[in-house]
């Protein structure tokens, strides 16, 4: 048996990409053993623990100029894959469009990690406990993936293939995440962690759209309660056409608790995580609706 306990990486080769096309070329040329590194906050610890067999690192931090952006459009928000957590946290425009980003980014890791970590890296790591995947699921995002033969756009459902697996092919790169903007909506995110900066015990995001005091659509995304982060269609179906009430949140929470599949670990028991899925779903729906109500009032007054 060969097994080592250590935190020092094995030898690697290192390339620095100058633009997206160059990155794709490098991935093509270097083959299966190459990996992109952006913020490096997941990949490098895994390399140190020798849990990966990466031979080539393709550093895409120079692509920040090309892929680091938040563009707020009338119908769509586009975020470049190299946009750093800190930029997401500090963007007032993004917070206005999707308050869930501010809620989530405040509780993702710590400032040091947020200075380097990127939204693209977070999604491509596809860790079931990762917060931004839940945010993107909640907001019904789609992902732009570029390869040598051009771009394709996939929904979050299709992007996320399971724990640590995505739709991004070997010689492809996630370049952008797109979020539809619909009127009358808001969002919120709640996370329970054992300590600041820890991965979620459980977290829940909610996005709600309303018209005339009635929910027109709603989405809930959960993190750390099983591999399925593809949203909670049952909850959407429950909420559509309803007036938001505590009872409604209660029933939505019960659905979240029932339809997740947490595992027991050092962060919590199955029963507790299920409880949290319900409790945090209720809290995030309540907060999202509260955020809509003042603006609705404002509209009417106008």
């Amino acid at each position: 048996m060969r097994g080592v306990i250590m935190q020092v990486p094995a030898p690697i080769e290192y390339e620095r990409a100058t633009d997206v096309a160059h990155a794709v070329d490098l991935l093509e040329r270097l083959g299966q053993d190459a990996r992109l590194v952006a913020g490096g906050h997941s990949l490098i610890p895994m390399m140190k623990l020798r849990l990966t067999d990466v031979e080539y690192l393709v550093d895409i931090n120079d692509l920040h100029d090309e892929l680091g952006y938040i563009r707020i459009g009338a119908d769509e928000v586009r975020i470049g894959a190299m946009t750093r957590h800190r930029e997401l946290l500090e963007s007032a425009e993004l917070a206005a469009a999707f308050p869930i980003f501010g809620d989530a980014e405040k509780v993702i890791a710590d400032p040091v990690v947020r200075n380097r970590g990127t939204i693209g890296g977070s999604l491509c790591q596809a860790d079931p406990s990762e917060d931004l995947s839940a945010v993107c699921t909640t907001l019904d995002a789609s992902c732009v993936i570029r390869g040598r033969d051009g771009e394709r756009v996939v929904s979050m459902d299709d992007f996320y293939r399971g724990p640590y697996e995505t739709a991004v092919g070997q010689a492809e790169i996630l370049t952008e995440i797109r979020f539809p903007v619909r009127p009358g909506g808001s969002s919120a995110y709640f996370k329970v962690e054992r300590r600041a900066g820890d991965w979620a015990v459980t977290s829940a995001g909610a996005a709600v759209w309303m018209a005339d005091g009635v929910v027109t659509d709603a989405r809930v995304g959960l993190a750390a309660v099983g591999p399925n982060t593809t949203g909670m269609p049952q909850i959407s179906a429950l909420l559509r056409g309803q007036e938001p009430t505590e009872d409604l949140y209660e029933r939505a929470g019960a659905l979240a608790a029932a339809h997740c599949s947490p595992s027991p670990d050092g962060r919590g028991s199955v029963a507790y995580k299920r409880h949290l899925a319900g409790e945090l779903t209720r809290r995030s729906l309540r907060r999202a609706v509260e955020r809509i109500q003042p603006s609705t009032v404002h509209e009417k007054e106008r």
Partner: protein, 798 residues
């Protein structure tokens, strides 16, 4: 330092900073002398030591907890171009070095020869040209393991069918390590039989780890020609380590120099001798080159000295009106695969015997069974004062359980049962002689600082609204400053400490200590002790420590013993120098010794203050021409008369989110009585750090294992260190009850907060959960565990 003339407006600003910016000639607040080098990144740690031609050592550790080694193939590793040596247990066995003694008279494998006994145990090592190649080569070693069932849960260790871990010991047929008892079993049983109220509570103090910022490591440099070994090492006890290396490795003691440079935190983790140190010495001897070994964080967490791991049943007997009569406890202690606890030899369970706490009891009894398990060895670490942490947790939880049953206020229950000031020196039911105390004054001060009555009123209001607010108190008494030598030793080395002081001709001084700072501020505190005695400003006194070639012998820093033991030595050696200075002064002033009066820093002729000489004048004269006695220096070894008994009262306020069960520590008041205070700023810093550790232990830390003995807490992702966001603004207070037998009345404070704070936090959480009818829940009180407790499951099965 030049001080610019003050602008008028600066006066106010200065006052604001006097707390931190004093320049006392003696005791008082002053900034730490050592801090400029730390805050500027100029500290010199073991890993900063780089020697010409230095090689790097890495250790292959077992991925499984219990397995017989069938074969080890090192050929591929040896073929690595940058590898200089690969060494296995079989190689060490040929030199008689495969096993070494532990600090508790057990033996521990340096490298495995027969079977692996815990995950992370040292199996082989590689020496290579750089640290990366050394680790790459580890991956090339092929070990064939015959995996055996593991004993991972201490409660299964003595089962008849449990696999025997220590079959290396002659005739060993089970996993029993030692039994220990203290107190009077029959007398205690009688009190319990007749008691009006009896409360029994099971509790687990889980395995935790001190996790110092700097991991363990060393640089070994064996010079073949001189036959001298120099070992830069993360050691809290350089002199004791040197003696042990001499006894184990056979290198003459005078040919060994152990240097403990700046140490990035110890907390007991750096008391033992680890296999890595021995491997590095062997590697340097084999290769003829200096060899560096620094463990990774995972190695530190899985293989080095842990703390606690006590499964306790506590019983408390009392009258209906709340007079506590007796405490009885039965403990199952998990000592891991080798008994590596550092404990004064007469006390196999360390100082757990002080479990009677701060209370005047009629009887007490403890029975303890210690066992071997397939886990890392250790036991005394994480600032525990030789197991007082467990003892204080036991008694302070029990008292709260009793308060719960009697529906009494826990503060008043404590007050009612305190040992009274006039009872000191007080001999406890387990035979410890508490030197001094005035507990009620400290309790009052803490309650006043916390506004205890106001907190209780607020709690009542909040409970009406369904909010879960908890107030927790602990009142601890510590026993620190080991020896005396007649009672206490580590492997036969008596617990006393030396000190040397030399005043240079210009009145500057150097004081040499046997204890070793790991961040406690020795370079400031000890300079202040000498300053207080001689009147030389602390900045004029250099403190030398951590180098066996340049300091007197002593047992080192742990168990909060530096100030109680070496602090006394520093004061006494300074007084000895002062006595000599008096003789010289009498010559200089041409008067009799009896006619001299000492005023801090100078002698003058009684009745004529103009006829005076300063200590600096005397120093110059002592080194000058003439026939007055020469030199101004002295040496001493201090053998403590008794331990010192610091105490304190901590009050913690928490809010528990009823929906998520997340605990937020809102307020924390710590009132400590450590006797005479040398530098109150340093004391508060130590208390605040210890309280943060206490919050960590109470709420988030545990070294957990699965049923196969795999360690589940081998990184800081899984083993959590509290951050500024988890701790409140600390509120410190103090009372001063000097130790009557200590030369300066100081008692030691380094571990008070780690000892006293966990029960305060736990008591607060349990108090918050009172509406759920909960009397106890086990640490760490993570959100999940608190929620489980709220559902009626207070004791998880790990």
């Amino acid at each position: 330092m030049t001080i610019a003339p003050e602008a008028p407006h600066a006066t106010h600003r200065r006052r604001e900073f006097t707390d931190n910016d004093g320049h006392p000639v003696g005791y008082g607040r002053m900034l730490r002398k050592e801090d400029p080098r730390f805050v500027r990144g100029q500290g010199k740690y073991v890993d900063d030591v780089v020697l010409p031609g230095m090689l790097h050592l890495a250790i292959l550790r077992s991925p499984v907890a219990h397995a017989r080694i069938l074969s080890i193939d090192t050929s591929a590793a040896e073929a690595h171009p940058k590898v200089k040596a690969v060494v296995t247990g079989a190689d060490l066995a040929k030199q008689g070095l495969a096993w070494m003694p532990t600090l508790s008279n057990d033996v521990q494998a340096v490298l495995v020869t027969d079977k692996v006994r815990f995950q992370g145990q040292e199996v082989a090592f590689v020496v290579a040209e750089d640290r990366y190649s050394a680790r790459d080569a580890l991956e090339l070693i092929d070990v064939e393991y015959d995996v055996l069932p593991a004993v991972a849960d201490v409660r299964n260790a003595l089962a008849p069918d449990a696999p025997v871990i220590r079959d290396d010991l002659d005739g060993k047929k089970d996993n029993h390590c030692f039994d220990w008892e203290t107190g009077d079993e029959a007398a205690t049983a009688k009190v319990f039989d007749e008691a009006q109220v009896k409360v029994t509570q099971d509790m687990v103090y889980p395995r935790v780890h001190p996790a110092p910022m700097e991991t363990c490591g060393c640089v070994a440099d064996f010079e073949r020609v001189a036959g001298k070994l120099t070992l830069w090492c993360t050691s809290q006890a350089p002199h004791a380590h040197r003696t042990l290396y001499a006894l184990v490795a056979g290198i003459p003691e005078h040919k060994i120099r152990v240097i403990s440079p700046d140490i990035g935190g110890g907390f007991g983790n750096k008391v033992p001798i680890y296999p890595g140190y021995v491997c590095s010495v062997v590697a340097s001897i084999v290769t003829g080159k200096p060899v560096k070994w620094m463990e990774d964080r995972a190695e530190n967490l899985i293989s080095t000295g842990f703390a606690r791991d006590y499964v306790m049943r506590g019983e408390i007997a009392a009258t209906k009106d709340g007079r506590i009569q007796a405490i009885r406890t039965n403990v199952l202690a998990d000592h891991g695969a080798f008994n590596g606890t550092a404990a004064p030899v007469k006390y196999p369970a360390g100082f757990f015997g002080v479990f009677t706490g701060s209370y005047d009891l009629d009887a007490a009894y403890c029975k303890m069974t210690a066992v071997y398990t397939n886990k890392a060895p250790g036991g005394v670490a994480y600032a525990c004062s030789f197991r007082i942490t467990e003892a204080v947790y036991l008694v302070e939880r029990l008292v709260d359980c009793l308060a719960y049953e009697l529906k009494m206020d826990p503060a008043e229950l404590r007050r009612k049962n305190f040992i009274r000031p006039e009872q000191f020196p007080y001999t406890t039911q387990t035979g410890w002689v508490y030197d001094s105390g005035e507990y009620e004054r400290t309790l009052d001060k803490a309650m006043e600082l916390a506004d205890y009555a106001g907190l209780r009123r607020e709690q009542a209001q909040r409970r009406e609204h369904g909010e879960l607010m908890g107030i927790g108190m602990s009142f601890f008494t510590e026993a620190v400053g080991a020896g005396p030598r007649k009672d206490m030793d580590i492997l036969g080395l008596g617990m006393a400490d030396g000190c040397e002081l030399r005043v240079h001709p210009t009145g500057k001084a150097v004081v040499r200590l046997s204890v070793q700072s790991q961040g406690q501020g020795h370079e400031t505190t000890f300079a202040q002790i000498v300053a207080e005695e001689l009147g030389i400003p602390p900045e004029d006194i250099d403190v030398v420590h951590g180098d066996t070639d340049n300091t007197p012998f002593g047992l080192g820093t742990y168990g909060s013993r530096s100030t109680p033991v070496s602090g006394a030595a520093a004061a006494l050696v300074a007084r000895k120098v002062r006595d000599k200075a008096r003789i010289i002064a009498s010559g200089m002033l041409e008067c009799s010794i009896a006619d001299l009066e000492w005023e801090k820093g100078s002698f003058h002729v009684t009745g004529d203050p103009t006829q005076s000489v300063t200590i600096q004048d005397i120093a110059m004269r002592a080194h000058g021409a003439g026939d007055l006695p020469e030199g101004l220096e002295a040496q001493i070894c201090y053998n403590p008369e008794n331990l010192t008994y610091p105490f304190g009262c901590y009050i913690c306020v928490v809010d528990v989110d009823p929906g998520t069960a997340v605990v937020k520590v809102r307020k924390f008041v710590a009132v400590d009585d450590c006797g005479t205070q040398i530098n109150p700023m340093i004391i508060e810093g130590q208390v605040q750090g210890g309280c943060a550790e206490g919050v960590g232990m109470a709420l988030m830390q545990m070294i957990a294992f699965d049923e196969d003995g795999n360690c589940l807490s081998a990184s800081f992702m899984d083993y959590l260190i509290p951050t500024a966001l988890e701790v409140p603004h600390w509120i410190n207070g103090s009372t001063v009850t000097p130790s009557p037998h200590h030369p300066i009345g100081a008692k030691g404070v380094g571990e008070s907060a780690t000892v006293g704070s966990p029960p305060a936090v736990v008591n607060a959480v349990i108090d918050a959960l009172a509406p759920f009818g909960i009397r106890h829940a086990d640490m760490p009180l993570t959100p999940s565990r608190v929620w489980d407790a709220m559902q009626g499951h207070p004791t998880p099965s790990f």
